[in-house]
Symmetry: C2
Subunit: 415 residues, 2 copies
């Protein structure tokens, strides 16, 4: 969590860190600036000292909400440096950062670079920093980064926000369920009171509107039916009409409006009835879900959970990415991941990643699934969990896990 | 535009380009993949040949919508390389990219790197590419990049989308105007039928909902009143009640739902009446707006427009960033910018940027403003323009530029 940052800097022998970037949504900047709505600006932090947020003059008022020390680029003489650099913004940034670092009392040392930016600009700046500021050593981490490690565990304030997002996401899933349950069956399709066929786009519109009414925003939900559900990341076609007896994977992962903490949950639904093949496969996925939760152990490696599921699925005759690394059918992804400001954070729950440990303060998904696009279906179940203060795994996704949404009015039709 | 890319590659003597990145919204990837909804994946393009999109197996179906050639990381043997690299994902990527480049017939050459990703991961990958694939020269551009230059002008299909977003954004601004005009005055505040004070948050909720109903999403609009409006990027406080006679800067810059093309427009409103100081300053801003449009010239430098406005404001006694580089009052920003998939694209209209030229196919804002936070107001007017096929500057923002929203029911109160 955030209070670990000085410790994480010491472990890496960093004298300072800089978080930079352009207008892209910048997870590290959001995290360290406590969600300030700035589109430009960099954060400078020396070991053991409070962070300084350097912003454009136009964003001063928003930057001040970060609670960090704030200075504008004007106050720091950026535009003089820009002139000195004859309008070369990379060169100007090198001179400007040198000014800021000296102001923080750093004339040499190891400096970690973080943030998100255009690939080309990032590398150009890095080359210019190495050439222009040889008194500093710029440190870049590819894996197990300081920011990732800090975000591995959430503090009390973050958990309050995550629980609030969870409650709202669960409520919206209930609204979608209730809406579908209230539809009328007409042959294989579902229709509204006027007899119009309801499409996936209609459901997504409803969900987006209900999320927004609760201060959340959709980040491209999956509502995929039939064969589409057999590809884990297919979003679902807006113009496809809902049908009875098809597997629908509904993966909802909204976040706080304008960027912020996420929830992540998946349910698989069959409207009206479930064919026996889908029902039986669903039981297997549910069994895998329970096995994953059982395999959780505080301070134990996360990969044990994935391996328990791999063992189970393989024994039941399903191909997996362990038994058949290039498979497009069966169990084709990892079991779960951390969730926070990013939808995919650490810890990972994968057999390919062996160094992640279950810790108090983790927020993580468990989401086994089976995918058979050639047989016209895919199934996944996902809850988001917190590892609470007692070290117990507690679901933030209490929403029911029934496969079938019974129709109040089934049109008198048999299966 | 996109059809310029091979020419832009030739000008840069690039044999290939690679667009890469993580899950961040990635403008270059969105652009070159025609908006495919993929969260992982890189694009490889050799000079004169179609682009190849390499995606995760889970995203195959979405990737196929790009219209590009698509191969999955499984098909390309990524996971064998991952194993060979002993789980070092940077090292695995270097080996994997080498495989892809050889498959494209490139055993040497100059390769431009583009995209958006974490700063630290980008640099780590770059260092590994230089060390591991010395047969290639990796080229990074900091300014006037190939992607920026391609996006400088929009093709017919992009302009159709931008015009559609424009129509919808203008319609939503009309809804906000009508809603406010229909409120009842109670003292200095505005109330609904039940007598509750209407806040900035209420207006933003209405606007977000109406945008969404039209397939658009808000990207953190500005609706800032009084002193807040005096800081160009203050978002406005949700819990602040609307008041009569205050300057409100409403800067609306939504985009297509889930990421896509933007509109960008600003109006300044006073509800009920405008104090004379605000009215007079508004006339000055409107005059500056007209002067900017007059100063437009096809194939002429954009900075001439900014300079015309600087001359006018300075003559009228307002400080500017040219006359007073560190000023926080007066005219404190540049005149405009290109708009597309990013809200801030080229061309820039700034006196600090002298190499941008007005061209057919530009989509750009003109947005003069004056800011006096200590006097409790700021004012800005912004239209989005297209430079059409005849080389004429045509506004996509026909919405009225009246300063005062007259109240249908002014509560019988005088100013």
């Amino acid at each position: 969590m955030k209070s670990d940052i000085d410790r994480l800097m010491r472990e890496r022998e960093l004298d300072a860190l800089i978080v930079t970037g352009g207008e892209e949504f910048n997870t590290a900047r959001y995290y360290l600036s406590n969600g300030a709505r700035i589109t430009h600006g960099s954060i400078f932090k020396s070991l053991g000292k409070p962070a300084l947020l350097v912003c454009n003059r136009m964003e001063l008022e928003e930057a001040a909400k970060s609670g960090l020390d704030v200075l504008t680029d004007v106050e720091l003489g950026y535009y003089d440096r820009y002139k000195e650099a004859e309008g070369d913004s990379i060169r100007a940034t090198v001179l400007h950062w040198s000014d800021v670092l000296l102001r923080l009392g750093l004339s040499a040392g190891r400096i970690g670079l973080y943030g998100a930016w255009q690939v080309n600009k990032t590398i150009a700046l890095y080359e210019a920093l190495k050439a222009g500021l040889a008194q500093y050593e710029f440190v870049v981490e590819a894996e197990n980064t300081l920011i990732e490690e800090a975000m591995l565990t959430k503090d009390a304030e973050e958990i309050v926000r995550l629980k609030s997002v969870a409650r709202r996401a669960n409520a919206v899933m209930q609204i979608a369920w209730d809406f579908i349950a209230g539809l009328r069956r007409a042959g294989d399709y579902l229709v509204d009171d006027d007899g119009g066929r309801i499409t996936i786009g209609d459901i997504k519109d409803l969900v987006r509107t209900e999320l927004m009414a609760r201060g959340l925003e959709d980040t491209d939900m999956i509502f995929a039916q039939g064969r589409d559900a057999g590809f884990p990341h297919s979003r679902g076609e807006a113009d496809m009409p809902l049908q009875v007896g098809q597997a629908i994977v509904f993966d909802l992962f909204p976040r706080e409006l304008g960027g912020g903490y996420h929830h992540d949950m998946t349910r698989t639904w069959c409207i009206g009835y479930a064919p026996s093949e889908i029902r039986e496969t669903y039981d297997t996925v549910m069994q895998a879900f329970d096995i994953s939760v059982e395999a959780f152990g505080l301070n134990k490696p996360t990969h044990l959970m994935q391996e328990a599921v791999l063992d189970y699925f393989e024994k039941a005759g399903h191909p997996t990415t362990r038994s058949h690394p290039s498979t497009m059918a069966g169990y084709v992804h990892s079991l779960g991941h951390g969730v926070g400001i990013d939808i995919h954070e650490r810890p990972s729950i994968s057999h390919l990643r062996r160094d992640d440990i279950c810790q108090i303060g983790n927020i993580l998904t468990i989401e086994p699934g089976l995918y058979y696009p050639e047989r016209g279906f895919g199934l996944r179940i996902e809850d988001l969990f917190v590892v609470d203060e007692k070290g117990e795994l507690v679901s933030l996704t209490p929403f029911r896990k029934d496969l079938v949404i019974p129709l109040k009015d089934d049109g008198g039709a048999a299966q």
